[in-house]
Amino acid sequence: MSPDLPSPIPLQAYLVLAAILFCTGVWGLINSRNAVRVLMSIELMLNAVNINLMAFSTYLDGQLIRGQVFTIFVITVAAAEAAVGLAILLSLYRNRETVDMERFNLLRW
């Protein structure tokens, strides 16, 4: 994007794209039967949030790019979350011998 011309892509395009990605992630999170796919849906939602942060950082906070710093931290936390989540998944699979989310009902009343 050249500094004197406005960007040819409006801010709303990024926001709508992130909204599509987030809603897809939410639907997958609710409806997946496979536990690995649930983790993938969480990653999709985190990426949607990151797109929002980056778009706001460039369009509304162009000098102090605080949104980009936040995105770095979100990426860090997402990596830690993926590692711990997959370790929990492996431990669950070892005990229950399934990855079906409907059968992980230990804490159900």
Binding site: Q12, V16, A19, L21, R33, I65, A79
Partner: protein, 209 residues
């Protein structure tokens, strides 16, 4: 980075189409291995969007961390838990899918309405463009120093926690009484494939003198 506006629009359209259809494939495809590879494609197109927003450092971090680490980790998890199992039918599955789809569509409409009705403070300050990496470094070592250090502690905790959770404890003797313990109680047989090969090998071993 200065690109002609038409080129920029075409890039945005291609990247967003990849993003939308890739994410739908991640959620909807029946084979989970295809989903994992499509997830890598989604991460790469998100990195392309970051490049279009003049954020080269975050795009590189996205490729390194998401495509290089998280996606490979997910592929390893699929490889470790890949058992073909027929999922038991649950009642009201279709109703649940329709209801959650309606909720997600409502959320999407709400977000779109917020995006188009809010009076954003546009145009904002001039983007600094290629100096973004320098500015991120200044932020990380001045006003965001405490979160930066906390992130390192968080990564250490996640690493130790993942090792502790995924480790397979095999004790050959009981800790309290000292008696030998049947390892089959602790380490369950994992895949029927392994049991089948053992059963097939056993008669061959009996025939050999």
């Amino acid at each position: 980075m200065t690109i002609a506006s038409t080129t920029q629009q075409i890039c945005f359209l291609v990247l967003s189409a990849t993003l939308v259809f890739g994410s739908l494939g991640v959620v909807l495809l029946p084979n989970i291995v295809y989903s994992a590879f499509l997830l890598g494609g989604v991460f790469l197109s998100v990195a392309g969007l970051y490049l279009m927003l003049n954020a080269s450092f975050v795009a590189a971090a996205q490729v390194l961390v998401y495509v290089g680490a998280v996606n490979v980790l997910i592929l390893f998890a699929i490889m470790l838990v890949n058992k073909q199992e027929t999922l038991a039918a649950i009642p009201g599955l279709l109703l649940r899918r329709i209801l959650s789809g309606a909720v997600c569509a409502g959320l999407f409409l709400l977000l779109v309405r917020v995006a188009f009705t809010t009076d954003w403070a546009l145009p904002g300050p001039t983007p600094i463009g290629d100096e973004a990496t320098i500015r991120i470094g200044e932020h990380l070592f001045s006003d965001y120093l405490l979160p930066f250090e906390l992130a390192s502690v968080l990564l250490l905790m996640a690493m130790i926690g993942a090792i502790v959770l995924a480790r397979r404890d095999v004790f050959s003797s009981d800790v309290i009484t000292g008696e030998p313990v049947d390892q089959g109680l602790i380490e369950k047989s994992r895949t029927p494939l392994l049991l089948d090969t053992n059963d097939q090998k056993r008669p061959m071993l009996e025939n050999t003198p």
